[in-house]
Subunit: 182 residues, 2 copies
Amino acid sequence: MLATMNTCTITKLARAFGLSRSTLLYYDRIGLLPPSGRTAAGYRCYTQRDRQRLERICHFRQAGLTLADIRTLLSSSGKPNAKLLERRFRELGGQLLELRSQQRLLASMLKGVAAGKCPPAVDRVMWVKMLRAAGMDDRAMGRWHTEFERRAPDAHQEFLVSLGIPESEIQRIRKSSAEGAW
Amino acid sequence: MLATMNTCTITKLARAFGLSRSTLLYYDRIGLLPPSGRTAAGYRCYTQRDRQRLERICHFRQAGLTLADIRTLLSSSGKPNAKLLERRFRELGGQLLELRSQQRLLASMLKGVAAGKCPPAVDRVMWVKMLRAAGMDDRAMGRWHTEFERRAPDAHQEFLVSLGIPESEIQRIRKSSAEGAW
DNA sequence: ATTGACCTGTCTATTACTTCACAGTTTAGG
DNA sequence: CCTAAACTGTGAAGTAATAGACAGGTCAAT
């Protein structure tokens, strides 16, 4: 008899929050989320309070804070400590820029592959498929062209040509991209 | 006498590529970038070829490939292996989405802080400052509003109100955001 | 009671580094 | 020539956030 109606075991808690058992074990080990009790058999017993704490933890994790930061936030509870948030926000901005540059870089690499010796049939259709697979919708794809046009117009032109897109459509795309009118 | 004009020491190489000495030591240890030679004293001697290899490594790292993948790419040189790139591209798309959601979340948290008890004077000016500090330019800020409006119109409204922006301007901003006309 | 599925705890491995400690080497200045 | 700073090497240990292996515990159905 474990669940006294209000407690739950580690795997159940993990599933409820979309985490892995290992993660909760880890959180226990570092003292971030020790279960309120144990059963006779030594099983961890998580209470409602534990669940609430975990919810806050997940919330902060979602926002990308480190466990150390979260510990600080939870212990010095009350004070929102906007400094931490602001710092993280700044970091996020950098990360976004970095990711976008990665994407551009990868794009050019794939372009190189497509244009180079080993042409794995990366034509327009294939590209659109890949971009969709990467989670892009039409709007995002428009933004992608806009970014490409803004940062590297020449490469953008080259890229479109490499996809075998007719000149007339290239003009249209680049014009739209330049205006950001998506 | 170390530098025979074409070789350089570990720290110099590290500085040239914006890496730490430890990183290069690590790359040597795992056999990813062993220096071409050593001085009599045993100091690592990096040649031009080593630098080129490191440049490729950095290039791939920039794109987010793991060192294992990079090793594969560099050893099976020639074959572009578009599979790896494509896979990474997919991952990137996911990461970008994730980051954007983080940003939104953080935004709402900061909003809460601003609206809540501990008001660290997060008004409009402060926000713009923060967003700029996060690397946003006007265009990016427009996109940010657009995203906000698209995904959470109510929260967007609330947010703008919380910044003390007059109703008339809020209308204007939200209308523009909805159209994505930035 | 027993089987089999699923659960538990602990311990170890992973990635890409970083930090540390300690001893030898090079270099610039006096 | 000497000394102090700055560099070098090795090796060990630490980091985040899990993932996986493993032996054993628990539970529902038979």
